[in-house]
C-alpha cells in the first residue's frame, strides 16, 4: 500500500499550491511535524529570533509585494508572541496568514504544556481565525484563510492547528475554489452613487483628494494619478497613503493630519468637496472631529462599509474597491474641451493653495557646525537613493520625519505601522521587504528607542545576508513622548531618557553586521555612502542627532487641523 502523507506534509504542499514562496517562523514542540516536513520541502523558510519579528517580517513582505505574508510558529508562547504583529497588520489591513501550532486536540482545555487559547486571544485582532479540529477540514480551512486574508478589505487570518492534526494521515486534495456563504466582498461601486459623486466633484470650486492606504492595497495608484491630474485636483495623502500618489507631483500637497503640511491641512479645512479615497478618517488625520472639513461635502470611497460614516458624516458614500470605482469615475470625466471651463474655475483655488504653500513649508534649521538634524539625515538618504528605495519606519519622531522629508513616488515603497503604531515594527518589516525584493535598496529609519524592541532580528538579517540599511536617528530619548512632555506636560521628562543604550556600532559588529557612526553633519553623507556599498549584510548607521529637535507642524490632539503649531 502506498504510504499516505501526514497533515504537516500536506500543509506545506497546500502553501506551495497557494503560491507561497517564503514563510517566516520559529520551531517548537507543537509544530515539530511541520519542521520535519520542511526539511525536505522547497519552501523558503526564514528562521527568526522572536515570533513577533516573524509576523512583522511577513507584514513587510506583504506590504512590499501585495502578496500575503505567511508565518508558522508553535503553540503557547510562540503563538502569544505573534499578537502584536497580528494587531499591527489588522489595523493597517495587511494580508497575512499566521499558522500556530496547538497542543493535541485531546489536551485542549487541560492547561497543557505550552497551551494558549490563541483563537480566543486573537479574535478581536484578526479578520477571521480558525481552530482546525479535524484533519478533514485542514485543506479547506487553509484555502479559506488565504481567500479571506487577501480579498475585500485585506487582513490577518490565524489558523490554529493541533499537533495531532499535523501527524494524522492525509491525502493532498487542495480545493480550487472557495465558497463562504456568509462572506461575499463587494468590489463594484454603485453606479448611481458614482455618477452623483462625479457631478458633485465637477461642480466643486475647492476640491481636494484625500487618499489613504486603500489606494495602495487595491493597486490603484495609477488610476488615482489619472483621475487627479485629469481634473487638476490637488491631493493629500494620509501616512498610510504615502506613495499612493507621487510625492514629487506638482498637485501633491504632502501629508495631512497631526504632522501634516500647512498647505494640506489648510486645504482640507477650506475645501468644499473632500474626496476621500481608501481612507478612514482616523483621529490623527481629522484632529477635532466636529470642526473637520467644515465647508466640505464629502465623497467617501471605501471597500469596508464600516469605515463609512464611522467618524465623520459622509454625503456621498461609495462602497467598493478603490481601483474599480476610480476606473468608473475616470470613465465619467468629460472630454478635455468641456473640462476647460471646469479647470479654469479652479484657478482661484490653486492660487490660494500656492499662497498657503508659500506661507509655510516643511523645514528645519540646518547648522553645518552644529548637531546633526534628524531631518537632514532623511533628506540625505533620499538624495543618496534618488528616492529609489523601500523605506520602513519605526514609530515616533523617526516615523514622522521619514514621512515628511523623503519623497515617495511609487506605492509599496513606504512601510510603516500607521494604525497600531508599533515600536519594533520597522526593522523586521525591512527584513521582510528585503527578502521580497532582493534587488531593491531597503532602508529602515529608526529611533534609538524603537530599534531596541526587535534588535534580536539582526541575527536573522546576518544569517540570510540581507543588506538592509538601518538608519538610527539616535537622540538618546524617546523623542515623540518627550516632545509631548515638552509641549503638554510642563517639560517634566518622565522616563523618556534612554541614554543608557548599547553602542550600536559595536552591537552591529557583535552580530556580524556593519556598524557606522556619524556625529557631525559633515560625516552623514560619507556614512550613507559607505552603507549603500555594503551588499552582503545588514548595516546599522548610528546618527547622533540633536535631541531637542521636534516634529513640526503639530496639531495638538483634540484641536482642529488649522490650529497647527509651526516652527
Amino acid at each position: 500500500m502506498e504510504t499516505k502523507k501526514n497533515g504537516a506534509e500536506v500543509f506545506l504542499e497546500c502553501l506551495l499550491k497557494e503560491g507561497v514562496d517564503t514563510i517566516f517562523g520559529f520551531p517548537g514542540g507543537a509544530v515539530l511535524p511541520v519542521y520535519d516536513a520542511l526539511y525536505d520541502s522547497k519552501l523558503n523558510h526564514i528562521l527568526v529570533r522572536h515570533e513577533q519579528g516573524a509576523v512583522h517580517m511577513a507584514d513587510g513582505y506583504a506590504r512590499a509585494t501585495g502578496r500575503p505574508g505567511v508565518v508558522v510558529v508553535t503553540s503557547g508562547p510562540g503563538a502569544t508572541n505573534t499578537v502584536t504583529g497580528i494587531a499591527t497588520a489588522y489595523m493597517d489591513s495587511v494580508p497575512l496568514v499566521v499558522f500556530t501550532g496547538q497542543v493535541p486536540t485531546a489536551l485542549i482545555g487541560n492547561d497543557a504544556f505550552q497551551e494558549a487559547d490563541i483563537v480566543g486571544i486573537t479574535r478581536p485582532c484578526t479578520k477571521h481565525n480558525y481552530l482546525v479540529k479535524d484533519i478533514k477540514d485542514l485543506q479547506r480551512i487553509i484555502k479559506e484563510a488565504f481567500y479571506i486574508a487577501t480579498t475585500g478589505r485585506p487582513g490577518p487570518v490565524l489558523v490554529d492547528i493541533p499537533k495531532d492534526v499535523f501527524t494524522a494521515p492525509c491525502e493532498l486534495k487542495y480545493p480550487d475554489k472557495v465558497h463562504i456563504e456568509s462572506y461575499q466582498p463587494n468590489y463594484k461601486g454603485h453606479p448611481g452613487q458614482i455618477k452623483k459623486a462625479m457631478d458633485f466633484i465637477l461642480s466643486a470650486k475647492r476640491p481636494v483628494v484625500y487618499a489613504g492606504g486603500g489606494v495602495i492595497l487595491s493597486n490603484a495608484a495609477e488610476e488615482l494619478k489619472n483621475f487627479t491630474t485629469k481634473l487638476n485636483i490637488p491631493a493629500t495623502t494620509t501616512l498610510m497613503g504615502l506613495g499612493g500618489f507621487p510625492g514629487t507631483h506638482p498637485l501633491f500637497m504632502g501629508m495631512l493630519g497631526m504632522h501634516g503640511t500647512y498647505c494640506a491641512n489648510m486645504a482640507v479645512m477650506n475645501t468644499d468637496c473632500l474626496i476621500a479615497i481608501g481612507a478612514r478618517f482616523d483621529d490623527r488625520v481629522t484632529g477635532k472631529i466636529d470642526e473637520f472639513a467644515p465647508y466640505a461635502g464629502i465623497v467617501h470611497v471605501d471597500i469596508d462599509p464600516t469605515s463609512i460614516s464611522k467618524n465623520v458624516r459622509v454625503d456621498i458614500p461609495i462602497v467598493g474597491d478603490v481601483r474599480d470605482v476610480l476606473k468608473e469615475m475616470i470613465r465619467l470625466i468629460p472630454a478635455q474641451k468641456e473640462l476647460k471651463a471646469h479647470k479654469e474655475s479652479l484657478k482661484d483655488w490653486h492660487d490660494q493653495l500656492k499662497t498657503w504653500n508659500d506661507t509655510h513649508q516643511l523645514s528645519y534649521k540646518f547648522e553645518p557646525k552644529g548637531k546633526i538634524k534628524p531631518q537632514y539625515v532623511v533628506e540625505k538618504l533620499y538624495e543618496a537613493t534618488g528616492g529609489d528605495a523601500i523605506v520602513t519606519t519605526e514609530v515616533g519622531q523617526n516615523q514622522m520625519w521619514a514621512a515628511q522629508f523623503f519623497k515617495y513616488d511609487r506605492p509599496r515603497t513606504f512601510i510603516t505601522s500607521g494604525g497600531l503604531g508599533t515600536m519594533g515594527f520597522g526593522f523586521p518589516a525591512a527584513i521582510g521587504a528585503q527578502i521580497a525584493c532582493p534587488d531593491k535598496t531597503v532602508i529602515g529609519i529608526a529611533g534609538d528607542g524603537s530599534i531596541q524592541m526587535n534588535i534580536q532580528e539582526l541575527a536573522t538579517a546576518v544569517q540570510y545576508k540581507l543588506p538592509v540599511k538601518i538608519a538610527i536617528l539616535n537622540n538618546m530619548v524617546l523623542g515623540m513622548v518627550r516632545q509631548w512632555q515638552e509641549f503638554f506636560y510642563n517639560k517634566r521628562y518622565s522616563h523618556t531618557c534612554v541614554s543608557v543604550a548599547p553602542d550600536f556600532v559595536r552591537l552591529a559588529e557583535a552580530y556580524g553586521a556593519v556598524g557606522l557612526r556619524a556625529k557631525t553633519p559633515a560625516e552623514v553623507g560619507g556614512v550613507i555612502k559607505e552603507a549603500m556599498a555594503v551588499k552582503d549584510r545588514p548595516v546599522i548607521m548610528d546618527f547622533r542627532v540633536d535631541p531637542a529637535e521636534c516634529v513640526y507642524p503639530m496639531v495638538p490632539a483634540g484641536q482642529p487641523l488649522n490650529k497647527m503649531l509651526l516652527v
Binding site: 483563537v119 480566543g120 479574535r123 478581536p124 479578520k127 477571521h128 481552530l131 479571506i148 463562504i180 456563504e181 456568509s182 462572506y183 469596508d304 462599509p305 464600516t306 460614516s309 464611522k310
Partner: protein, 161 residues
C-alpha cells in the same frame, strides 16, 4: 433607542464569542441575547436587544455584517413584528394566598408548572411589559426566584395579498 436585531450566523464554535466580543470591544450595549439553531442546523439565529442612536445602530449593523460568520442582520425596529420573552417565577404561597395567585396566573394566561407546599412556579410568556406586570402583581406574595429568557422576535406576515 432600543432595537431588536436578529442575526443569522453560521453555527460554529466560537461564533457567540465573536458576536459578544464585537459588542464589548466596541462599547455597544447588549441588553439581552438569545441563541438557538434554525430549521437548518448549520445556521443559528441570535436575537439581540441593544440600544443606541442611529449612528451607533448603523455601526452595529455594519460591524455585524463584517464578521465572516454572519450571514444576515435584520433590525426589527421599524417593522411590524412580534416579540416574546419567557419567565419562570417561583412565588411563595400559603393557604390564604393560593386562590389569589391562581387567579392572577389565569388573567395573564400563564401556567403553574410546579407546585410545592410553600410555592408555585409560574411560567409566563409575553412581551416585556406583560412579564413586568405579572411580576409586580406577584411581588407582594414573595418572589423567591425569577428566571427570564432574552427576547425573541419575528416579523409579522403581510396582511394583504
Amino acid at each position: 433607542m432600543r432595537h431588536t436585531i436578529s442575526v443569522l450566523v453560521i453555527n460554529e464554535f466560537g461564533v457567540l464569542s465573536r458576536i459578544s466580543g464585537l459588542f464589548s470591544g466596541r462599547g455597544f450595549n447588549i441588553e439581552s441575547l438569545s441563541v438557538a439553531e434554525t430549521l437548518d442546523p448549520k445556521i443559528s439565529r441570535m436575537t439581540i436587544v441593544t440600544s443606541g442612536d442611529d449612528k451607533v445602530l448603523e455601526q452595529i449593523n455594519k460591524q455585524l455584517n463584517k464578521l465572516v460568520n454572519v450571514i444576515k442582520v435584520y433590525d426589527f425596529t421599524d417593522e411590524e413584528h412580534i416579540e416574546r420573552e419567557l419567565a419562570l417565577i417561583k412565588v411563595t404561597c400559603n393557604a390564604d394566598s393560593r386562590a389569589e395567585i391562581l387567579s392572577i396566573v389565569d388573567i395573564f394566561r400563564a401556567k403553574v408548572v410546579d407546585v410545592s407546599p410553600r410555592s408555585y412556579t409560574v411560567e409566563i410568556t409575553g412581551d416585556e411589559e406583560k412579564i413586568r406586570a405579572i411580576t409586580e402583581l406577584l411581588r407582594p406574595f414573595g418572589i423567591k426566584e425569577i428566571v427570564r429568557t432574552g427576547r425573541i422576535a419575528m416579523a409579522r406576515s403581510p396582511k394583504q395579498k
